[in-house]
Amino acid sequence: MESGDKVINTIKSGGAKMRPRAYFIVRSALAIIGAVAVFFVVLFLTTFIIFALQENGGIFATNFGPGGWEIFFESLPWTILALSIALLLILWVLLRRYAIVYHQPLLYTLLILVVVVSITAIFLLPGTSLQGGIFHYVSKSYIPVVTGVYEFDTAPMSGVYRGQVLVLATSSFILVNGRGQTSTVLLVPMASPEIGGLSPGDYVLIFGRGVATATIQASGVEKIVDYQ
């Protein structure tokens, strides 16, 4: 057969050389290493998103009705979220050479990746002090860009106040924020947790209305961990 002869002659004359198995192993290994690296970056960003929502109060705000959901969406770190989604797409590109990935619609693959990353991040976050450690470090020393990303206190959202309980009274307490400003927090009934659950020195997020340097009518109080 003419074509067969041409192909075989090309091969025999050295015009085409069979790639060694090692070439494909290295190529696959690099793709897998790349995918694992991207996965860990996405995981890190996801732990940051959860940490940011805890620190800026967004994650607790959902307990306070439609207004709370507004705070939640306002408090989402959208740039980091968009970056995470872009990296998930890169992860899909790196993995789509495998039948298990391209046999599924992209939407399924992305949903599976989001679930795996979120579950891992949720279980990983309390076990490591990584985000808290970075937050603590950048609050003491300035690192370009990173410090700005971890600034949850200096740019508070409307309706969310953050600080430390200074003095407790029956239905109110004095709050001191990160800049040393004090305010009186009046708890409206149903505020959670009740005043009895608080102690002087606790770090809290207040959901309510008022002025950070005067009186705040609190409809919700959440104790938080202080990493600063």
Partner: protein, 192 residues
């Protein structure tokens, strides 16, 4: 019992066994694969409108690429979708190079994003295979490349959904959807 001639023994081996021999450095076994697949590849190239010398050159390029990359072939899987995948890439890249049908050969397709219910493989929308083949022969040039290729692989190359998915690197459910839409388009073209 007389010893069977070597060539007969070789011809009895399936593609995957022959490919393993090639992986071990047996160039002559590769000739056998070329002989087995040349008519199929030439026919496949023609469906992409690669005819004459251009078609021959492209088919030879497919075989050269198959030889160069043969060690990436996993012998536990079928050889046929593997070589068709190489051919698909080669033909599509050539179409892009020629800058023809560019709008029909997109990098990303919305079809692969969303899940679809898998249509039954036997579903033929009331049109039998012979009729679809006849319609396909006459209307191939009028069909969108996205629908043409699954139809060609299914009706002319006798591939199943999974094999077509492996060649085109798309979800299995998307193969069913493209076949269904392709058949509907064919019917529309024929009745117009």
């Amino acid at each position: 019992m007389p010893e069977m001639p070597e060539t007969t023994k070789t011809r009895e081996r399936n593609d995957e066994e022959v490919a393993v021999q090639v992986q071990k450095g047996d160039i002559e076994s590769f000739r056998l694969l070329v002989e087995r697949y040349e008519p199929k590849m030439t026919r496949y190239a023609k469906r992409f409108f690669f005819d004459g010398d251009e078609g021959k050159d492209l088919v030879q390029e497919v075989f050269i690429k198959a030889y160069v990359n043969i060690r990436s072939f996993d012998a536990s899987r079928r050889f046929s979708p593997w070589i068709y995948r190489i051919a698909h890439n080669e033909f599509v890249n050539n179409i892009k190079r020629r800058q023809k049908e560019r709008e029909n050969v997109s990098i990303f397709d919305f079809d692969v994003l969303i899940p679809h219910l898998i249509a039954k493989e036997s579903a033929d929308d009331g049109v039998n295979n012979t009729e679809v083949k006849r319609m396909l022969e006459g209307s191939l040039s009028k069909l969108n490349a996205k629908y043409k290729e699954p139809l060609v692989l299914y009706y002319f190359e006798d591939m199943d959904y999974r094999e077509i998915a492996d060649i085109l690197h798309i979800p299995i459910s998307t193969v069913g959807v493209r076949l269904q839409r392709g058949r509907a388009m064919l019917k529309k073209i024929v009745t117009e």
